[in-house]
């Protein structure tokens, strides 16, 4: 897949893993499919430099990336390490534009007691205090008579996609059971791409219950924090910086890390690709070029560049877009095939101050999807211990997490309830302490296993 031999074979391995994460054309039937999550690129290119493997897999017909003209240089300091600076006008014109299709669905099933889920039209506005203007009614604006959202509807945060009702009690038989509303809601402003009707089959046949739902379309714009990757065993992380320079100030694209990665393949791709641009054809750069075949070599690319009046090293004169003066150095520039990876900061960024807690441990929940906290793990704790920041440890591990007030009897050392020791039958030596709820839980679980932990209290 990677063009040209790379000095470090690991880069080929990295790319083999990463090429699968690239946003591009998934399949020819991608818009008829009903994938759970589908990323597609709006204007994919066929690569300027191709290889035999790409020919075999017909990559030109279902490409997954775009050719970007890059300038290998330092510019403005926002392009340190793997960051790149993109031309804002390129983004405006559709560079890296992609589309995300997300499936939202719910099951419509039949239950043991003979009741069945149903989807129904939006409730009558008169149910709500403010009628048509009520915010709670506005949530149903996307829903059609069949209880499913219309195609092309704009979904805001909290808009109902499927208005489903199911029986309030699924154990009771034979009665007229009131139905409760169980709606599927959507976060964020998206647009309905397709709706999925309920199929009638499957109610009585085994297998998953029929489902209702819609596919939602989001069209995010390329912005800071999108992960890009150049394929020829190139730098694995091309995190483009949080800056898009305006067109009139951009020399072009980026700086890349060549020396430490030793990705000669990328240099060759650039050179061969540039020659291809001027010769009006796709360059061919299989890693182990057939001696008698059509593979482009550095030498043939250099000759092509000279033929077209360019410098054979692939360098050009560039002007500073900011002040209009020519840059002091010649800049190595040309096309490189870039893949946009499906890791986007917008989908990943997360922070919380207060939020939900797990029921059992009373500690903050885990994970972004549950608005969870960020764990201060063992190693972080070790750092704080080594530093001697005991109050910070107290704060992080108890007060900001699962602090709990408990009563402890000083004579028997057992946890008790509200200033009364049921074991000693006295309320005299019961003290109030603060401890993590998880600790109290552990003691109780041990007690359940016939292990009796006792607390010995000392005056602090």
């Amino acid at each position: 897949m990677t063009s040209g031999a790379t000095i470090r074979p690991v880069r080929n391995t990295y790319q083999s893993a990463m090429g699968k994460q690239a946003i591009g054309t998934v399949a020819i039937n991608q818009y008829s499919r009903f994938d759970g999550l589908l990323y597609t690129m709006v204007y994919p290119h066929k690569p300027m430099v191709k290889t035999r493997t790409l020919d075999i897999v017909n990559f030109d017909n279902i490409p997954a990336g775009q050719n970007a003209c890059i300038a290998v240089m330092a510019y403005s300091g926002y392009d340190i390490e793997d960051a790149v600076i993109l031309n804002k006008a390129s983004i405006d014109r559709g560079f890296g534009r992609c589309m995300v299709l997300k499936k939202q669905q719910t099951s419509v099933r039949r239950y043991q007691n003979g009741t069945m889920d149903r989807t129904c039209a939006a409730p009558d506005p008169s149910v709500f205090p403010d009628g048509v203007n009520d915010k709670r009614f506005a949530r149903f604006k996307a829903v059609d008579k069949d209880g499913l959202c219309n195609v092309g509807e704009l979904l805001e945060n909290g808009t109902v996609i499927v208005n489903k009702e199911s029986a309030a009690d699924l154990q009771v038989f034979g009665h007229v059971i009131p139905f409760e509303r169980a709606v599927i809601r959507r976060q964020g402003p998206d647009i309905v791409e397709r709706e999925r009707a309920i199929s009638d089959k499957g109610h009585d046949t085994p297998g998953p219950p029929p489902r209702a739902g819609g596919q939602v379309r989001v069209a995010p714009r390329t912005e800071g924090g999108v992960r890009l990757d150049s394929s020829p065993g190139g730098p694995p992380v091309q995190r483009h910086g949080h800056l898009a320079r305006p067109h009139h100030e951009s020399p072009r694209l980026k700086l890349a890390r060549f020396p430490s990665r030793m990705t000669v393949g990328k240099l060759i791709e650039l050179l061969v690709g540039k020659a291809g641009v001027f010769e009006g054809r796709q360059a061919y750069a299989s890693a182990f070029g057939e001696e008698f075949g059509s593979t482009d070599t550095v030498e043939s690319a250099e000759l092509a560049l000279i033929r077209n009046g360019l410098n054979y090293t692939g360098k050009d004169v560039f002007y500073s877009g900011v002040n209009g003066a020519p840059l002091d150095a010649y800049i190595f520039s040309g096309p490189v095939f870039y893949q946009k990876l499906k890791h986007m900061v917008l989908d990943k960024m997360h922070a919380r101050s207060r939020g939900p807690r797990a029921v059992l441990t009373r500690q903050p929940t885990e994970g972004r999807s549950r608005d969870g906290g960020l764990r201060l793990g063992e190693m972080e704790r070790d750092c704080l211990i080594a530093y001697g920041a005991s109050n910070l440890i107290m704060e992080r591990l108890m007060h900001s997490s699962d602090a709990f007030s408990a009563s402890v009897c000083q004579s028997c050392g057992l946890l008790q309830y509200k200033n009364w020791c049921q074991y000693c039958r006295s309320g005299e030596k019961v003290a109030e302490i603060r401890l993590p709820y998880a600790c109290k839980l552990l003691f109780q679980e041990l007690q359940a296993m016939n292990v009796l932990p006792r607390l010995r209290l000392k005056d602090a």
């Binding site: 559709g94 589309m99 069209a219 067109h247 009139h248 209009g324």
Partner: protein, 323 residues
């Protein structure tokens, strides 16, 4: 004002869609200002809002809206065919006094293409083939405004489609929408950029040291002539002296080949150069190509106007500060 200079513009070549000119007697900063304004601050029209009534095409709404936005929109003042400056004719929509939009700050385009309806009237050999919706299908409510379908006749002759293709329709597909064009500048979005290319380069100054050249043999002179890939030198047939070729200034790309060749000929490295090609500091060769939204000439004039307006604004603000 001390050392005031009077920049000059000398037009080398002009066509509706492109212009090359020489800007002289000014600095790099001025040349770059002009370039930046042409790219980023000349106002044009572009489709900014799209209302969909029906879209059963294969492309989704945003996709088509993006494509519509990038179509150059041309404003031709009454009685002309050229792409003119829309600055006087429209108000930027954020500054307009109207509530939502009005003819003063926007132009509406209607597009209604129904494959099944159009299919019947197509020629026999094309019938049932996918139908391309192009910029020709955009009907404006203002006679002075229309999409720029092609840059010039040559482009039109080479094109496969009637205009700028938007989407292809198949059987049973229907696209009906209303597109609202507004005036803007490309600082906000590249769709308002009137130029495809706006670049300049420094005027080359070719100086030939005849005194030093007299020490060269004819073979060596010929070698210098051959060394330059831009072919900026030739031998005078009568005197046998080196001289710049006609139009050398446009050809020169400041290659270093000539330098290496003459360095090899010098007896001592510190000897004078035989031929020197240097950047002129006050002469610039501009090349501007239009996107189709405006004629190249008007882009230049409009950019000068923008610059003047900005300077006047600055002067007024400075006056205010003084008080």
């Amino acid at each position: 004002m001390p050392q005031q200079r009077f920049p000059k513009i000398e037009i080398k070549h002009i066509a509706p869609h492109e212009i090359t000119f020489v800007l002289s007697e000014t600095d790099t900063s001025m040349a770059n200002t002009l370039r930046r304004i042409m790219i980023a601050e000349v106002p044009t029209l572009a489709i900014d809002l799209v209302e969909y009534h029906e879209n059963s095409s294969v492309l989704n709404d945003e996709y088509i809206a993006h494509r519509l936005g990038l179509i150059p929109i041309r404003y031709s003042p009454d009685g002309t065919l050229k792409g003119g400056d829309c600055h006087q004719a429209f108000v930027p929509h954020r500054e307009c006094v109207c509530y939502d939009r009005c003819p003063r700050c926007s132009v509406e385009f209607d597009l209604d293409v129904n494959f099944d309806k159009v299919n019947m009237s197509r020629p026999e050999q094309e019938r049932d083939l996918p139908l391309t919706v192009t910029s020709r299908d955009l009907i404006a409510n203002n006679v002075q405004v229309s999409p720029a379908h092609f840059l010039n006749e040559e482009e039109q002759d080479n094109a496969h489609d009637e205009g700028i293709s938007i989407v292809k329709l198949g059987q049973g597909q229907h696209l009906r929408l209303k597109a609202i064009a507004r005036m803007g500048i490309s600082k906000e979005h590249a769709k308002w950029c009137p130029v495809a290319v706006a670049t300049y380069r420094f005027w080359p100054e070719i100086t030939i040291n005849q005194e030093a050249c007299n020490n060269l043999t004819m073979e060596q002179k010929q070698e210098l002539v051959d060394a330059c890939p831009d072919r900026i030198l030739e031998l005078d047939e009568i005197t046998g002296n080196l001289k710049p070729t006609e139009g050398a200034e446009e050809l020169a790309t400041f290659t270093e080949d000539l330098k290496y060749a003459q360095d090899a000929m010098k007896r001592r490295p510190e000897d004078d150069d035989y031929v020197q090609v240097t950047h002129s500091t006050d002469r610039f060769l501009f090349s501007v190509e239009s996107s189709g939204a405006m004629d190249a000439e008007d882009i230049l004039l409009s950019s000068l106007r923008v610059l003047k307006d900005r300077l006047n604004y600055l002067a007024a603000e400075v006056e205010k500060l003084k008080d």
